[in-house]
Amino acid sequence: MASLPPLLPFPPPPPPGFISGQSPPTFHDEPQQQQLPLAVLPGDDLTRFILKKDDASQRNKSKPPKIGTGLAIVPTSSSSRRRRRFHQNKDAMDIIINNDNDSRMNRNNTDEPSNAPSFSIIAIIAGRLIHHASNSTDTYYISSNTQRYIPTLGDRVIGIVEDTTGEYYRVNILGGHSALLHNLNFEGASKRNRPRLDPGSLVYCRVVRGVDDGVKVVGGSNSGRMVGGRVDPEVSCKVGGGSGGGGSSSIITNAMDDDGGATRKDWTTSECTYGPLSSSTTSTSFRVSLGLARSLLLPTNETLSALSKSKVPFEICIGVNGLIWVDAPAPEIVIMVQNAIKNGEVVGRGMVGGMVKSMVKNLRSQMEE
């Protein structure tokens, strides 16, 4: 190997503590915890933040830590890193349990000290590592704000009807592929009594088959196995849990799929949870980023609580896929609500209340003219 011409001192590679070295006090202030990195990049190894064997607080938890979105478990071995499988999160729990109980997993690499984990947890998206502690377990995930929705089981989304083909509607839920909605998947719907949706109308529905969920393979050598991700996602306007199902027989009923206590009124009433959203002349729909949509659904959201305190009459429907529908008696109110929500993405905390107040004041003076 040729010796090099003298290079001027180069900025050295970041020292091991770099990713936590310069973060300001985190918003999740836990003094006993090792400070979490402010931002993680794909490929960052986060094992030592998550599996802290010497941390007393973690030993008291009854279950091993849970790994959420944006993190992947990669078994370390001497083989090439690129050939390792990046496990989906459903496998994650099993691996952690196995490792905690069985130190013989380290047989791959005999040079490693015996208590080094035989796998590592890698970040796969760029964002912020969030730690959520509960009494029984710790949950870690990476939060990041994106624009592209990935259909996930149980999400409540607003879709745009594109087409009617046979028994299914094709609904655009702003994901990779358009989703299927069976004609009869409305509460209390039957062949003669079902809603007729025109292309372009909005539907508030629930995802019943997402990208990660599989379909049972019926024939051939793989019979009975679940194969994921190849089939178009599916949505339904029926409240989930319990007897589920509808016209389609491939809906998965999941123990976790209990839909948060939504009411099961008939689709004809105006109190049903899901269904078509009226498209009157004063209603509008617009797109926002996924992070903003999720933050609007929090009960502590400042924009919406300020708007409701101001006693402006409006109705709003928020889809986790970033589509928001607003209806109000007057178009000025609709526009004001839309602007207030969009501004909420860039206005800092604490200033939202003042912003909404001034907008409402403008609106009232405008309406009185």
Binding site: L4, L41, R81, F86, I122, S144, G176
Partner: protein, 330 residues
């Protein structure tokens, strides 16, 4: 042993030019990034994962990356080389902590775009690409697209996006050397902005290698054409267009997989010798032919340059994360 200095500038051979990045400058695509490397300006937009326009392009096992590469006008860098050198030294090679210097010379990341320290107002004339094309842009756009596609596909977790396509659109706004490398890095920033799952970061470094053997052919020295004496090739990092187009200069773009696991103290150090930690994914060479010594020398430089680039990207993401936590999530 000679180490040739760069022409027309005080920048040291291992200094990077000032970097400025902006995440989400465009509102319509799922992710976008704009990257300034000195006078080179690249814009990238990422759409995905989306369904491809025709079902014929759907792949059952995983996603597909599709790259569209578009070259723009070239700017003459002679007027601004002097100004660039002033910024270049603070940006790259000083021995202080990289973070402090980078805060000064690089990185303004905001939805309201502010550019710091990059002299874009100097006398430049925008003219269309001259014929014959300068090195680095001489390859056809199709070749460059395939190069980018290979580099990005190796790091994106495509098995998570079956039947989808991830479309990467690159626009060269200004070209002043290291265009292909900056395009790769800009695409990586845009992919991170879009939230596409990646197993690592493919970081590109561009080097110009000047082999002493070429100088020997001019009869300067009794230097050995067969390499008996140790002829050390000169390596310049992050070249401008002028440096790339010199006679006998070989430009090599190396894409390395920057995995920070090699810095993790809990994993034993044998990972440092592992081929994959900081290993080279792909490379492309322009200009003069590259010798083995030159390739190895530039691989060494590329490893360090990638580390600096990753640190810069981390800054950019940190600013975005901080902005979000102040406005979006409480």
């Amino acid at each position: 042993m000679t180490c040739y200095p760069r022409p027309n500038t005080q920048r040291s051979p291992t200094a990077l030019r000032p970097l400025t990045a902006e995440l989400s400058p465009l509102s319509r695509p799922d992710g976008s990034a704009s990257l300034h490397v000195g006078n080179t300006h690249v814009l990238c937009a990422v759409h995905g994962p989306v369904a491809p326009r025709s079902t014929r392009w759907e792949r059952y096992e995983g996603g597909v990356v599709s790259v569209a590469f578009s070259r723009g006008l070239i700017s003459s860098s002679s007027g601004s080389a002097g100004a660039a050198s002033g910024g270049g030294d603070t940006g790259g090679s000083s021995s202080g902590a990289p973070t402090a210097d980078e805060n000064v010379a690089m990185g303004a990341v905001n939805t309201v775009s502010t550019h710091t320290a990059t002299p874009t107002s100097s006398s430049k004339s925008m003219k269309s690409l001259p014929l014959p094309l300068p090195p680095g842009l001489g390859a056809t756009e199709r070749e460059l697209e395939y190069f980018l596609r290979d580099a990005l596909s190796s790091c994106i977790l495509l098995e998570r996006y079956p039947r989808c396509v991830i479309q990467v659109v690159l626009q060269i706004v200004q070209a002043d050397g290291s265009v292909l490398g900056s395009a790769v890095n800009c695409a990586v920033l845009a992919l991170m902005d879009a939230g596409v799952a990646m197993r690592g970061l493919p970081i590109a470094s561009t080097c110009v290698v000047i082999d002493d053997m070429h100088r020997a052919a001019e009869g300067e020295d009794e230097r050995d054409l067969h390499g008996r004496k140790d002829s050390k090739p000169t390596v310049w990092l992050d070249p401008t267009a002028e440096e790339e187009s010199g006679v006998g200069h070989a430009t090599v773009v190396l894409v390395t997989d920057m995995a920070t696991s090699s810095h993790n103290t809990s994993i034993p150090s044998e990972d440092d010798n592992d081929d994959d930690a900081g290993g080279i994914i792909t490379s492309m060479t322009f200009g003069a032919p590259l010798s083995i010594k030159g390739l190895l020398a530039s691989a060494e430089c590329a490893k360090q340059s990638s580390a600096a680039m990753v640190a810069f990207m981390r800054l950019a993401i940190e600013q975005k994360v901080q902005r979000e936590s102040q406005t979006l999530w409480s």
